[in-house]
């Protein structure tokens, strides 16, 4: 270590930074190629073909769209509307100056964010036991929408709370200084801005709800009320072939991928 280090003239044994980068990039491609070869060699292409049988896929039609997708959309849109309305209400309660309102909102949010969605749906089956004589309006649709709404409300409330708090305090002050009451200031100035802020996370929340709608199968629904996941599973059992499940999965992606794209578009527009 007696010779001074120089950067201008690298020694012959050392790689220049450019050569080093090229070498690392080369190694990365070699690893990728090796992994691809390994997979291609060990995959059992014949049994994999079982998952993409066109003649089985055809059997899912037309019920895939006219019943399963339709129900999935009814359940998730219904649940979403419930969670949007009650989520906003709960968020306002959580930010309320009335302490019991804050307690109620906090307790609700903690419970329904903490419980597995599956458990909520299983419990909903016992609703007649808890409330004898009471029937959820809308029958199966109503019960499924209620289940998704109960869960979605908790998450949506937290989304709205963050959105409401993200609106600068000066906005409320400006509204109040113009003579608006606290309520009027909320509704004309704060909430419209909060809704804009929460569009991206709310889109994500809708996607989550859409996927959770598969849990409707735990309500023990009759054939007219099946949604995508149960439908795919049922047709797969009938044909002893997994293709219908792949088809159902693709149908979910048909909805969720454009939604995610839309969410990113809306986010950029702000």
């Amino acid at each position: 270590m007696t010779s001074p280090t120089t950067t201008a003239e690298p020694g012959p044994a050392r790689l220049s930074p450019r050569k080093k980068r090229q070498l690392i990039r080369g190694v990365q491609y070699v690893v990728l190629g090796a992994a691809a070869l390994f997979l291609a060699f060990y995959t059992d292409w014949k049994s994999l073909a079982l998952f993409v049988q066109p003649e089985v896929a055809e059997k899912t039609l037309p019920d895939l769209f006219t019943i399963a997708l339709k129900n999935t959309i009814i359940y998730s849109v219904g649940g979403f509307i419930l969670s949007f309305v009650f989520g906003l209400l709960l968020a306002l309660m959580k930010l309320s100056e009335v302490r019991p309102y804050r307690w109620i909102a906090n307790i609700y949010i903690e419970i329904f964010r903490g419980l597995p969605a599956l458990l909520v749906f299983v419990l909903l089956n016992f609703l007649p036991l808890a409330l004898p004589g009471f029937e959820v309006p809308g029958g199966t649709y109503g019960l499924a929408i209620l289940g998704l709404g109960l869960i979605g409300t908790a998450y949506q409330a937290e989304i709205f709370r963050a959105g409401l708090q993200a609106v600068p305090k000066g906005q409320t002050e400006a509204a109040r200084s113009l003579g608006m009451s606290p309520m009027r200031a909320q509704f004309t100035v704060v909430i419209p801005q909060a809704i804009r802020i929460v569009i991206p996370p709310t889109t994500n929340q809708f996607v989550a709800l859409l996927k959770d709608s598969s849990l409707v199968l735990f309500l023990g629904v009759s054939s007219g009320f099946v949604e995508l996941a149960k439908f795919g599973n049922d047709v797969a059992s009938e044909n002893a072939n997994p293709t219908p499940i792949m088809v159902a999965g693709l149908t979910y992606l048909l909805v969720t991928i454009p939604l995610g794209y839309l969410a990113r578009r809306l986010e950029k527009r702000r």
Partner: protein, 248 residues
């Protein structure tokens, strides 16, 4: 005749921080009063106590002879006639300039959309941005935004205008436009209470200048006296620092 603003023994604390420690002062109708003082002296807090954006810890505030600090006072009704202009403009970003000036007229004064729009356009013309009606706040410069904010307050037919450092957030070349509008308002006889660092404006436009420091009023008088010939050492030190910022 009633004072436009009367403040009696006003105290305001934030926790253990005593920001205002006994303020007494009045503003007469038609007067322009500028409040100056170092940052942290409580001048903005005083202004915000006048329309009760901050609730005083102790003391009374009267506007046109009506006690605002009274428990049964209708604060929303009183605020309709007290225009306020903020340092950060606080325009509603989801509305056009025109809508910003219309919304409170419609929702608070219950004016119809047509009337509100006529009043809004009048006031936007008055502050010199009649051509920006359809722009959103984000599309306007700071000076333009602040003038929309002034138009928004004026559209409510205030008897009194509060300005909280209206030019402090502006680029230097935009300050003049806003001060010109304020000068015009003063000439029209508007009652104005202005917290500002613009000594030139205070000297030329104000009827009275109030110097605050440490939560109390140190000096109160015509600008020629408070700015031109200050009686107190604290006022002199402050003015020297403001007028000769590079000397230490």
């Amino acid at each position: 005749m009633n004072h436009a603003i009367e403040v009696r023994d006003l105290h305001k604390s934030f926790g253990s921080n005593k920001v205002l420690q006994g303020i007494d002062f009045t503003v007469e109708p038609g007067q322009v009063v500028c409040v100056i003082g170092p940052s942290g002296s409580g001048k903005s807090t005083l202004l915000r106590c006048v329309n009760l954006l901050e609730m005083p810890t102790q003391g009374k505030v009267f506007i046109n002879g009506v006690e605002l600090t009274h428990l049964d006072a209708d604060i929303d009704a009183a605020r309709r006639h007290i225009g306020m202009v903020f340092q950060q403009f606080n325009l509603f970003p989801h509305m056009t300039a025109l809508k910003n000036v219309m919304i409170a007229q419609q929702r608070v004064l219950k004016r119809g959309a047509q009337e509100a729009e006529i009043v809004a356009r009048e006031n936007l013309n008055k502050v010199g941005i009649g051509d920006k009606c359809d722009s959103y706040p984000a599309q306007l410069s700071g000076g333009q935004q602040q003038r929309v904010a002034i138009a928004r307050a004026l559209a409510m037919n205030p008897t009194l205008m509060l300005f909280d450092e209206p030019t402090s957030a502006l680029d230097p070349e935009l300050v003049g436009d806003v001060l010109t509008v304020m000068r015009k308002l003063a000439e029209e006889g508007m009652t104005m209470l202005v917290v500002t660092h613009e000594m030139g404006f205070a000297r030329e436009v104000a009827d009275r200048v109030v110097f605050m420091d440490g939560g109390v009023i140190v000096e109160d008088g015509p600008p020629a006296q408070v700015i031109g010939d200050p009686q107190h050492e604290r006022t002199r030190t402050f003015l020297h620092r403001v007028l000769h910022p590079e000397e230490r």
